[in-house]
């Protein structure tokens, strides 16, 4: 992405972002709530429209990109639809969609990849259960398994650790380290890295819609950029002083 700019309701959320993710990197996008982390990864994939600049996926703009199987997107949370149940296996198997052809039935390779993905997140024994009955951490595992099932080169994860219990976080870290060993690329949004910290090769810290740090993970740059440190209210300091504050009172 170069000069990436995103506006929501004409309010700029991201301003002039230049970011290139290289193959094999594990990039963590960090920042306070409301700093535009999720918007950034969504814009990288062309899911959030850019109001300026451009973004390329493997050298192509999103509209002309065809190799979507190379990307596994993990959204922030599982949307459970209008109450129609779906089993864990059905949701995970749907991760194969960009590798499937419309007129060909589900293949043995699809079933095998689905089974491997379920195994990797430790949900194989519950594959027939409805996803609606799972806890937040378990639903997160389903989402990750869905991306795993597609066997992509690049994983893009939006807050995979938010609201997830410690066991699921550790499982995510183990899964990711396996992927990193295979040379996959990972871009993840996080508020706190937790057990993921040793895996991250590069950290991009956002502040007010701009990149304020891009380089080695925050451990090296001191306590200031440490996750968990930046908990100030995102708009606390930038709020313009209104005329009532500004006028001297008697």
């Amino acid at each position: 992405m170069s000069g990436g700019q995103v506006s929501l309701d004409r309010r700029p959320v991201l301003r002039g972002i230049d970011l290139t993710v290289r193959s094999g990197e594990v990039v963590a996008v960090l920042g306070a709530n409301g700093s535009g982390k999720s918007t950034l990864v969504r814009a990288l994939l062309g899911l959030a429209p850019l109001s300026g600049g451009s973004t390329l996926l493997y050298g192509k703009p999103p509209a002309r990109f065809r190799e979507w199987w190379r990307i596994g997107y993990v959204p922030q949370r599982l949307s459970v639809g209008g109450g129609v149940p779906a089993t864990i296996r059905e949701v995970v198997a749907s991760g194969r969609i960009s590798r499937q052809s419309r007129f060909r039935p589900t293949s043995a390779a699809d079933a095998a990849a689905t089974a491997r993905a379920l195994e990797a997140v430790g949900l194989a024994d519950r594959a027939g259960d409805p996803v609606q009955a799972l806890s937040g951490g378990q639903q997160q595992r389903v989402l990750i398994a869905r991306a795993l099932a597609g066997e992509p080169d690049t994983f893009v994860m939006d807050e995979p650790t938010a609201g997830v219990d410690a066991a699921s976080q550790q499982l995510l870290a183990d899964t990711l380290s396996g992927l990193v060993e295979q040379g996959r690329t990972v871009v993840l949004v996080a508020h706190e890295l937790g057990p993921l910290e040793p895996l991250v090769t590069r950290a991009v810290v956002l502040r007010d819609g701009c990149v304020c740090h891009d380089g080695p993970p925050p451990k090296a740059v001191g306590a200031h950029a440490l996750p968990g440190h930046d908990h100030v209210h995102p708009h606390a300091e930038e709020r313009p002083a209104g005329p009532l504050d500004w006028r001297p009172t008697s």
Binding site: R42, L45, G46, L47, F65, R66, E67, W68, W69, I71, Y73, P75, L78, S79, G81, G82, G83, V84, P85, A86, T87, R89, E90, V91, S94, I97, S98, Q100, R102, F103, T106, G128, D129, P130, R146, G150, V156
Partner: protein, 277 residues
């Protein structure tokens, strides 16, 4: 049941009911998952304008209804996807426009009155012709074909539109496909239960199915079974007790839902006791 099949009109009606009972819940499952349960109603109201247009221009009302319903469905989808208006407001706008347009056009048609519309509003399955059955069969096959071929993609789309986009699916095309398929379903179901009750066949069997199942596929299959039972069962019963078949079909479906609600609660309780000994 045998004496019922002796009448030609009843044979035709039963075939129509069977096909509708099968097709409507199939596409209905995706519509419910997409939180557009009232889409069928919206399209149904618009189709009324199409029916009236048919009378006004002297063409077959079913054909004009198909054209207008498809246009209406596409309009709903565009408003939903582009506009700031939420889906339900977009639907409401079409409800009013469709009914008003239908009543206005029918009054302009030679010899037409609101009474002419009644058989379309509330269905008139016993008057279906051989040609009607052929059209219904063709459209039902089209609807089931769409579900069979695009089912996997529609599942991803209805689950999470953003994930569908990130998987490279043609989101806009698939959304239009759902809308158009729903429109076709509305028109074929129009003769069976009437435009005002069309949506019931797309929604109620699905709501019934999901009380008892854990998966998407099983919900859809069960919904199709329930839909078929309701349409055929309701129609057959209406032959013996002199009541409008459309209303009876919907009430049978609703009765099934109430039963499933109780049964589902029981099934879930025994399941959770199983998993927590």
């Amino acid at each position: 049941m045998i004496d019922l099949l002796r009448y030609d009109f009843m044979q035709r009606a039963l075939i129509a009911a069977f096909l509708v009972g099968l097709a409507a819940p199939a596409i209905g499952t995706f519509i419910v998952q997409r939180r557009l349960a009232l889409l069928g109603d919206g399209i149904g109201h618009v189709a009324l304008t199409g029916v009236a247009l048919g009378f006004l221009t002297g063409t077959a009302p079913v054909l004009t209804a198909v054209v207008v319903a498809v246009l209406g469905a596409v309009a709903i989808e565009l408003v939903r996807a582009r506009g700031r208006t939420s889906g339900d407001v977009a639907l409401a706008l079409l409800f009013y426009g469709g009914i008003a347009g239908g009543v206005l056009l029918i009054s302009l048609a030679p010899g037409g009155s609101n009474a002419t519309l009644m058989s379309y509003l509330f269905g008139s399955i016993s008057s279906v012709t051989v040609q009607d059955v052929q059209v219904i069969a063709l459209l039902a096959v089209a609807v089931l074909g769409v579900v069979a071929v695009f089912g996997r993609e529609l599942f991803v789309l209805c689950q999470d539109e953003e994930v569908a986009r990130a998987a490279g699916l043609p989101v806009r095309l698939l959304s239009l496909l759902i809308a158009v398929t729903a429109a076709l379903t509305v028109v074929i179901a129009m003769r069976v239960v009437g435009l005002l009750l069309v949506s019931a066949l797309m929604v109620v069997p699905v709501a019934t199915g999901q009380q008892l199942t854990r998966g998407f596929r099983s919900t859809m299959l069960l919904a199709m079974l329930f839909g078929m039972t309701a349409t055929v069962g309701g129609l057959a019963s209406s032959f013996y007790v002199e009541v409008p078949p459309g209303a009876l079909i919907v009430l049978v479906a609703l009765g099934g839902f109430v039963l499933a609600l109780g049964l589902g609660r029981f099934v879930r309780r025994s399941r959770s006791q199983e998993s927590q000994p």
